[in-house]
Subunit: 125 residues, 2 copies
């Protein structure tokens, strides 16, 4: 897809209201070769890692947990965490949690994992 | 500064409570060679551009306007805008506005402009 340059600001809550499915990131903006993606989480994701990049989670609404092999990161509203490159992680959310993900274009949600949770990539909303 | 890897999530509001000066971005996290910076804006900034990179503004509290030469971008809470690479812009905020900036490490706040508003770079909080 060609680069989208908007003429106005992008409202995160408006964009979040446009979809309801879980674990299916939607691209809302690009910055250089990075993308901003909104995602709704509920339940347990799969353990995976991204070999070539860090990945940022910013919680907009609700709460989530990022399980790492050696620790657990709890994220509440307005909290962010950068999962380092190559580090195995498993996102979990007991109740629905709405998240802004920032990462390079082309990153697959399930990373290196062979999973039925792998979502279509580069889906804009 | 060497890369900071935190063992817990970063709370944006807590970090914002740690400083009060305007137009002085504070780094709170890194993702690959990008940085997340918090800044408080009030008044008028200087016209400038960043020749080599896009720059993302996400409003956390308050309202701001980004003047471009050919249009005006209004940003309310939970709205983001990506200023394209090489595009002249002038951030303005009538009342204090609290913003998360995302851009590559090393970007100077005043870009190509010769300005007394140029802030120290890579200041962590």
């Amino acid at each position: 897809m060609t680069k989208v340059i908007t003429n106005k600001s992008i409202n995160l809550m408006e964009k979040l209201s446009l979809f309801s499915e879980h674990w299916s990131p939607k691209v809302i903006a690009e910055m250089n070769d990075y993308q901003f993606k909104l995602v709704k989480l509920k339940g347990e994701f799969t353990w995976h890692k991204h070999e070539h990049t860090d990945e940022t989670f910013l919680v907009l609404k609700g709460e989530m947990t990022i399980l790492l092999r050696d620790k657990t990161i709890k994220l509440c509203e307005n909290e962010l965490y950068v999962v380092p490159k190559g580090v195995e992680h498993k996102p979990v959310a007991e109740q629905e949690c709405q998240v802004l993900i920032i990462e390079p274009k082309g990153v697959i949600n399930t990373g290196d994992a062979d999973s039925e949770l792998t979502a279509d990539n580069d889906v804009w909303i």
